[in-house]
């Protein structure tokens, strides 16, 4: 009913179909866990390289089993709950972070030939999509789950019953809500171009020679990257757990396995956010099939390659950029990213309407750009005026002081 687009579920649902779905769930779960393990190691090793250190090198070859060792250690540590904590909420919060991180991966198509075929693969005599679910609401599920993930961070900070976590969680929720708007608007342009909410359909619509780079690949893609990094609370947007100011931010009071769950969720979110970016903007598993005999393998390879590029750049950002200030964060989110995403969305919408009506694209673009320019000028003027007035108030010109005393 809800997942009806997958050809596997169009026919009668018998035991075999059920087992295939179960297999998909288990495989994607295992895949995600292993990639998180490798991601933690990869990040530590890469950052060490960038900082001229050696990094983990004891557990296993090149220290690749370091995460496993850390996980086992955290699992056996004593579980502490602060006396001031709100116990049920304190215990609930890590799961609210972790579960959305897992679920988002269900809608990512990780393979299947979209260029010559319809994106299905043959499994045990059934045709099926290489993704756990393809609900009609598609990518909205990602937005819904990322809004649930805010609760994990927010409640963890509040329920710890201590100052630094509370400050961290208040910062986190303000930041995540602000950047979710820009994220949503960037994704809205993808809906508009792809004509569907389903991730499978979006990837199909991109599997032409250019992945719709002109409409979605530049402006919305960059907005998505910045807003996504902020949504993940990764550097340079890691004000949430700024060590120098807030000890450890929202998870200061967490220890042992609950802390491990937060860590797991954080790295898993990096992977799923990269996977969503690949799906929405870079054609998902689309790519040339070089060796015909293992044709099924190539889409998966291309997907992994694109995913790794994103993971690398997230680590690179962390090693390179200093943390930005809180007012810069809010300025960037509200005054730059949201207007830019909205303006681009309107431009693409105008082009779509023009194409439906058979108008020539040149005047449509010219008129839209003129209108958007006028809007930007008005917005910029308002911002400048407000800033000048605030400065006059704060540094107190004499007239302003007199007017204030007289009132």
């Amino acid at each position: 009913m809800v997942i009806a687009a997958d050809p596997l579920l169009l026919g009668p649902v018998d035991l075999e179909v059920f087992l295939i779905v179960l297999l998909k769930v288990v495989v994607s779960f295992a895949l995600l866990m292993v990639s998180v393990m490798l991601m933690v190691w990869f990040e530590r090793k890469l950052i060490s390289d960038m900082q001229n250190r050696i990094g983990p090198d004891v557990a296993g070859p090149w220290g690749i089993l370091q995460t496993l060792a850390d996980g086992i250690k955290l699992f056996f540590k004593e579980d502490l709950i602060p006396e001031n904590a709100d116990r049920p909420v304190f215990k609930l919060a890590p799961y609210l972070s972790l579960v959305p991180a897992f679920l988002v991966f269900a809608i990512v198509p990780i393979g299947g030939d979209f260029r010559t075929g319809d994106g299905t693969v043959g499994w045990f005599g059934h045709r099926t999509f290489l993704q756990v679910a393809d609900p009609p609401m598609g990518i909205l599920l990602f937005l819904a789950l990322s809004s649930v993930a805010v609760y994990g961070v927010m409640l963890a900070g509040w329920s710890s019953g201590s100052k630094y976590p509370l400050l961290g969680s208040v910062r986190a929720s303000a930041q995540m809500i602000s950047y979710e708007a820009a994220l949503g608007l960037a994704i809205a342009t993808v809906f508009l171009t792809g004509g569907s909410l389903s991730t499978h359909e979006i990837v199909s619509s991109q599997s032409n020679w250019n992945w719709n780079v002109a409409t979605t690949g530049v402006v919305p893609f960059l907005i998505f990257l910045v807003a996504g990094t902020a949504e993940l609370n990764r550097p340079p947007f890691d004000l949430v757990e700024a060590e120098q100011e807030l000890v450890g931010g929202f998870h200061t009071e967490y220890s042992s396995i609950r802390f491990a769950l937060f860590s797991l969720a954080e790295f898993m979110n990096v992977i799923t956010m990269s996977a969503i970016a690949v799906t929405l903007f870079l054609g998902g598993p689309d790519g040339p099939i070089l060796v015909e005999r293992v044709a099924w393998l190539w889409p998966i390879l291309w997907f992994s390659l694109k995913l790794s590029a994103f993971l690398f750049s997230f680590v690179w950002l962390r090693a390179t950029l200093p943390r930005i200030r809180y007012d810069q964060l809010m300025d960037l989110g509200w005054k730059v990213l949201i207007p830019l995403a909205l303006g681009w969305f309107l431009l693409v919408a105008a082009l779509n309407v023009g194409r439906d009506r058979g108008w020539s694209p040149v005047p449509v673009v010219l008129v839209s750009v003129a209108v958007l320019w006028a809007g930007t000028a008005m917005l910029g003027g308002a911002v400048r005026k407000a800033r000048a007035e605030r400065r006059a108030l704060e540094f107190g010109s004499d007239e302003a002081l007199d007017a204030g005393n007289g009132a």
């Binding site: 819904a144 809004s147 649930v148 927010m154």
Partner: protein, 203 residues
């Protein structure tokens, strides 16, 4: 199958609603509200209204209740309320009256609906394909009901402008923010007396 999903989500919705009423801590009440919202989203899914289900979670759980929590945490009212105080005189009898009125209206609507759903038959007929849902909703909102949509947008804009006007800073030297009533409240709490007094001034 459908009945089972309906019963489970109805239990989730109703227990969440009771939790909102009975929880003594405002943060817990807000969390029960989230539970209720999720139950309603599942009910939407059961009706094949996938878009509404997603929007229900994104807007209500993801924005509105988060803002509730934000305000509760920032204002520091996240502790049990003293139920002996009645801030507005006569609000309890009035609440009973209005509650009884709403219950009566809902019950009568339910009784009328015993034979089938109420309202226009066109509004209750199935839409068909679940994937078509978003398109139909968009068409309805931006053709037949476009005036109402624009009016709602205007209302929200007015609310935002109103909020900005209310919090704007008056000319003159910097005034302290009018949070004295809220900030002085923790002094009555016994747990805060153990802390150093200069922390009060910083808070």
């Amino acid at each position: 199958m459908e009945a089972a999903v309906f019963i489970v989500s109805a239990v989730i919705v109703l227990s969440g609603a009771f939790g909102v009423l009975l929880a003594r801590n405002p943060v817990h009440a807000a969390l029960f509200l989230v539970q209720s919202v999720f139950g309603v989203a599942v009910l939407f899914l059961l009706l094949d209204a996938t878009f509404l289900a997603a929007v229900q979670v994104i807007v209500y759980a993801g924005a509105i209740v988060i803002l509730f929590l934000f305000v509760i945490m920032l204002l520091g009212v996240d502790r049990a309320e003293n139920l002996d105080v009645e801030p507005i005189a006569g609000q309890r009898p009035l609440a009973v009256l209005i509650g009884a009125g709403i219950l009566g209206t809902t019950l009568s609507a339910l009784l009328v609906a015993v034979g089938g759903p109420t309202g226009a038959p066109a509004a209750n007929s199935p839409l068909g394909d679940a994937g078509d849902n978003t398109r139909r909703l968009g068409e309805a909102l931006f053709t037949d009901h476009v005036f109402a949509v624009e009016l709602t947008a205007l209302l929200l804009t007015v609310a935002v402008v109103g909020a900005v006007v209310l919090v704007r800073r008056l000319a003159g030297p910097l005034q302290p923010l009018p949070v004295v009533a809220v900030a002085s409240e923790p002094e009555d709490e016994p747990e805060d007396t153990e802390e150093a007094p200069d922390e009060e001034a910083g808070a």
